[in-house]
Amino acid sequence: MELADRAVGFLLSLISLSIFTYYTFWVIILPFVESDNFIHNYFLPQEYAILIPVCAGVVLLCFLCMFIGFVMLKFKKKKA
């Protein structure tokens, strides 16, 4: 039981660390590297560095609003 918890926790921290290093590399280090270096093949174009977090934030916001609306509707229907 606690092994499953430990595994999930480890996976979460690994995902967060990898996202952090990839994003740091992408936003801060990559603009200083010359354009024809091989490392650019591993990173998407720079516009996506803004697009992906903004899209993820918008999706999260929509999901939150839908969830709140859903719960409010269910509560109102149960009361009436």
Binding site: D5, S16, T24, I50
Partner: protein, 89 residues
């Protein structure tokens, strides 16, 4: 109300710092434009990391679990003597 004012003033200070950085051009301008998004993403990452680390270090207290099971057994016997049906067996 005062807590909201504190958070709001913090936000105003941070945005003033950002606009000042934009005007002064200490860091190249393209970097300065990306700074707020970078900080938000790194804050989300930090939260996820704390959740993962907390999950990994969560203590299970096996002795307390054993004592708890003994307490539950005693309570069930006690109630069964008094005639209350505990019902889980």
């Amino acid at each position: 109300m005062k807590h909201v004012l504190k958070i709001f003033s913090l936000l105003v200070v941070i945005s003033a710092l950002w606009i000042g950085l934009l005007q002064a051009s200490i860091i190249p301008q393209s970097h300065t434009w990306l700074l707020p998004i970078y900080f938000i993403v790194s804050l989300g990452c930090y939260g996820l990391l704390m959740v993962g680390v907390g999950l990994m270090r969560f203590p299970t207290c096996p002795q307390e679990a054993l004592l708890l099971q003994q307490d539950i057994g005693e309570a069930k016997d006690f109630l069964k003597q008094r005639g209350v049906d505990v019902g889980s067996e």
